[in-house]
């Protein structure tokens, strides 16, 4: 399966996705749940923190930071970058991936899983960004 070339690329793509999604429906869900969710990736190593608890100065629903676990996340999803790339495309069956151990989760993950139904918009944004950045090889048909 395709995966990020390196942490730089992953950070650039996910940074752009977050920038576009900060006012979107998924971010609003995170804000309403007052959740801080972290995605810890290995190979490449990258931590993405999505903070729906701390109010953003420009009124966005969430703040995004890389390689930090401050503020302390409620929920942490840990996986390989490969599985992460699959997730952001909407190609990962998350409950199945948890059962198989492809994704390890800590914290009250039910609160985070509740957000799954509002994520498809985000998946679309991800695919858009990947294509715009000329990294189409990351996408599965």
């Amino acid at each position: 399966m395709p995966t990020f070339r390196d942490a730089e690329q992953a950070r650039a793509i996910l940074g752009a996705v977050a920038e576009r999604a900060r006012f979107g429906e998924a971010a609003r869900g995170l804000r309403e749940a007052e959740l801080v969710v972290a995605f810890v990736y290995h190979d490449p190593e990258l931590t993405v923190l999505m903070d729906g608890r701390t109010p953003a100065p420009d009124g966005a629903y969430m703040r995004v930071a890389f390689d930090t676990l401050e503020p302390a996340p409620d929920v942490v999803f840990e996986s390989s970058g490969e599985v992460g790339n699959r997730f952001w495309q909407g190609r990962l069956d998350v409950p199945m991936a948890l059962a198989r151990g492809q994704v390890k989760a800590r914290g009250p993950i039910n609160r985070a899983l509740k957000l799954l139904p509002i994520l498809p918009g985000l998946y679309e944004t991800y695919r858009e960004v990947v294509r715009e950045m000329g990294a189409g090889e990351l996408l599965e048909p």
């Binding site: 399966m1 995966t3 290995h42 190979d43 390989s80 970058g81 490969e82 599985v83 699959r86 948890l98 059962a99 198989r100 151990g101 492809q102 390890k104």
Partner: protein
């Protein structure tokens, strides 16, 4: 009393040292075997690295074959001149597990593994005029000759080259039995094998021989994956090129996961991977031997909701008296590969090099030629 050269491990973390030891003649119910060849196995390496505590100093080696030189009082199973493969679980025949037909779980053999002696506490190896040296798994075949219990010698046909026969003492029987006895793989079922060293290759070939399809081999060393294809793997996953081996196996099995997943590495991560790559209701067989202090994390909800069968396989759940001759017949009939398992042959003095190669993951199986 005879003199034999043997590779002794003085203490964990040290190199093996080849020295001359005194070997006492076999006592009642014991057999002296002049060794021809011994395979170099991960379990020996575990002892060398201190991951498997056994009494030291000891003569290691538990995968061996040779020719009977002398028998002790009351021995009826073999006579001098018989070719034998050594079993590292000589079932006592009396304990609960032996009586229910699970000799690989023999209580007495397990006790003697920890005691480092033969039955009855016998020690037949000693430094000249000095202290005894412990036995390892009642075999101790990194030596020119050894003394073992009668139940630990399996008579085999004399037309099989003994270096090939030696491998059937551990690696082949362990891999074969995991497929045939523990899992009971059925024709047409899908199989994933994590780890294709000496034992893993035998899981692959037994699965192929059982009619499984696909047979997916997973390893980090491309040369081993190439070898796995020779042994019947239909697909390979190079774990050095993907960090999602579970996803790769799921993709190769119509999105379901494998009917049977075998772990043949002995590490918590690969055990968790094998669990993850089995389909719902599938079977996971852990063959790899991890160090005793390690633990595995698996998803708790999946235990009931995916209802996989998670089990282990010790010495292939074999009955060595039956399985070892049978496997050798299959080899002689051209149905099962043994020649290709041997990557390199070494002299006893080169035992440490053989372990270096095993540590480096370079070889399927290294074999010490002991000249018997």
């Amino acid at each position: 009393m005879s003199r034999v050269r043997a590779a002794v491990l003085e203490e964990a973390g040290r190199r093996l040292q080849v020295e001359e030891l005194e070997l006492e003649p076999p006592g009642p119910g014991e057999v002296m075997v002049r060794l021809a060849a011994a395979g170099v196995c991960h379990s020996d390496l575990h002892v060398i690295e201190g991951d498997l505590p056994v009494p030291l100093p000891a003569v290691l080696g538990h995968e061996g074959a040779g020719v009977v030189e002398a028998v002790g009082e009351g021995v009826t199973r073999v006579r001098p001149g018989d070719h034998v493969v050594l079993s590292w679980i000589p079932g006592c025949g009396r304990c609960y597990y032996c009586r229910i037909g699970r000799p690989e779980l023999c209580d007495e053999a397990a006790r003697l593994q920890v005691a480092g002696t033969l039955p009855g506490g016998a020690l037949r190896l000693r430094r000249p005029g000095g202290a005894p040296v412990h036995h390892f798994l009642e075999v101790s075949c990194f030596a020119e000759a050894t003394v073992v219990p009668e139940r630990g010698v399996i008579p085999v046909r004399p037309d099989v080259p003994l270096d090939r026969a030696a491998l059937v003492g551990c690696a082949v029987t362990t891999g074969w039995g995991a497929v045939v006895h523990t899992a009971g793989v059925r024709p047409g079922s899908s199989v994933a094998v994590v780890g294709t060293g000496g034992v893993g290759l035998n899981v692959v070939q037994a699965a192929a021989l059982s009619g499984a399809w696909p047979v997916i081999a997973v390893d980090r060393v491309p040369a081993k994956l190439e070898l796995a294809r020779q042994f019947g793997a239909t697909h390979t996953v190079d774990a050095s090129r993907t960090s999602d081996v579970i996803g790769a196996v799921v993709d190769l099995t119509e999105g379901r996961g494998a009917d049977y997943a075998f772990e043949v590495v002995g590490r918590p991560e690969t055990i968790a991977s094998a669990y993850g790559m089995a389909r719902k209701g599938g079977t996971v067989v852990v063959v790899g031997v991890a160090a005793p202090h390690l633990e595995v994390g698996i998803n708790a909800f999946s235990l009931p909701s995916q209802s996989k069968v998670l089990t282990g396989s010790w010495y292939g759940r074999s009955v060595p008296e039956v399985d070892i001759p049978h496997i050798l017949d299959l080899y002689m009939a051209g149905r099962l590969k043994l020649d290709e398992l041997i990557s390199r042959r070494y002299r006893l003095e080169e035992a440490n090099e053989a372990f270096d190669a095993l540590r480096a993951g370079e070889v399927a199986r290294g074999v010490l030629l002991l000249g018997g």
